[in-house]
Symmetry: C2
Subunit: 194 residues, 2 copies
DNA sequence: CGTCTATTTGAATGTACTCAAAAGCGGTGG
DNA sequence: CCACCGCTTTTGAGTACATTCAAATAGACG
């Protein structure tokens, strides 16, 4: 198993000794999953964080009308999990699904807690990860209030150019907060104008 | 100066020795501000986190059409700051303003970094604070996509009952992501029905 | 191929916004 | 203490952005 990607991810924020790196990877579990398979289902308690090595996952909720809303996409080098459920250890409302065939690593909550005790630097690492994610999330909330659907789409294209031709439109729509039909109309308008 | 409120806030997640508590409060600065005064202005670099003792602050952005969008209210016992600007030390887009006459404590970034080194438990404390804030923020994003304005308003009433008769409607509207006019119409409809 | 799902297109509808004007409310100064 | 000013809230009419429903077309996968 090749742990280089996750070690590189971690080295962005903290520096591990070889021993610490060794100890860390010993806590991970490697898995593969086929496209369209669920890793975590609404109503379950989330017991782990996931780190994507290759492929792509998505986290989404389903509202009372059966509409899906995408909270996040996790391509390679991203962490994902149901943070509400992880913190509270109560059943969550998040589904996590593979959009493509995906390789990923699992860090269980139990191991994560051990890590905090054994190598306190990880406390810092995850604080920074969460901080960055919070910033992105806040920006998305502001955008949802400040921008039109068409502006949000153009913004998405600019911020995630690598995802735009990789994801089904339906799921980009579910991320932007519009219906697939409306996104389709938006795109055809944008193609005519410029 | 009475540091009991902030020490109580901290004791929710970590336990400090008397010495550590002493060291911590020595890093804080106490301030008061009158209603309608700005603590932080768009375009400035945010150099501190604020902890509210009494009164109420709000964080908001102004979009290209001049519309205000409230990112958060901070009544007593809440932390607030422009986390984007704090992390990057770049100019932020957040304004922080006193809604009421407010007493608060300032923890500068410099002191916060010292705290992480001197008392690593604080790394954990702020990780947990940020984690909880992220969960709330994610939920708000999901709500903005799943719920109608009227559902979001009723939800706000349920989650923040103490704020509902304390804040100007205008600012509740700016938090919910609707115009003040529309919120007013919503309320009058809701008063007729039940 | 054939089936199933995703995307496109169109018409009708609805939710929320804009603009405008009136009414309410709070603070300030005479 | 009251009158006035400025700001917030309410109300109404017309509009726009986005949804719903329906049906046709295109793509993907076994």
């Amino acid at each position: 198993m090749d742990f280089a990607p996750i070690l590189k991810n971690i080295s962005k924020h903290i520096t591990l000794t070889p021993d610490e790196a060794q100890r860390f990877v010993s806590m991970l579990e490697y898995k593969q999953v086929k496209a369209r398979k669920l890793l975590l289902q609404e109503g379950e308690v989330c017991k782990s964080s996931y780190f994507v090595i290759s492929g792509c996952l998505r986290g989404y909720t389903v509202d009372k009308n059966g509409i899906e809303h995408v909270l996040n996409f996790a391509p390679a080098d991203w962490w994902i999990g149901d943070i509400y459920s992880i913190i509270t250890q109560k059943p969550g409302m998040l589904n996590i699904e593979a959009i493509e065939d995906t390789e990923y690593l699992i860090l269980s909550m139990a191991n994560q807690e051990k890590l905090y005790l054994e190598i306190p630097k990880f406390e810092r690492f995850f604080r920074i990860i969460i901080q960055n994610y919070l910033v992105a999330n806040q920006q998305r909330l502001i955008d949802s209030m400040s921008l039109s659907a068409s502006e949000r789409y153009l913004n998405f294209c600019k911020v995630y150019p690598s995802l735009i031709n990789r994801l089904p439109q339906k799921q980009i729509a579910a991320y932007l907060g519009v219906t697939p039909e409306f996104l389709s109309k938006l795109k055809s308008k944008l193609n005519k104008k410029p």
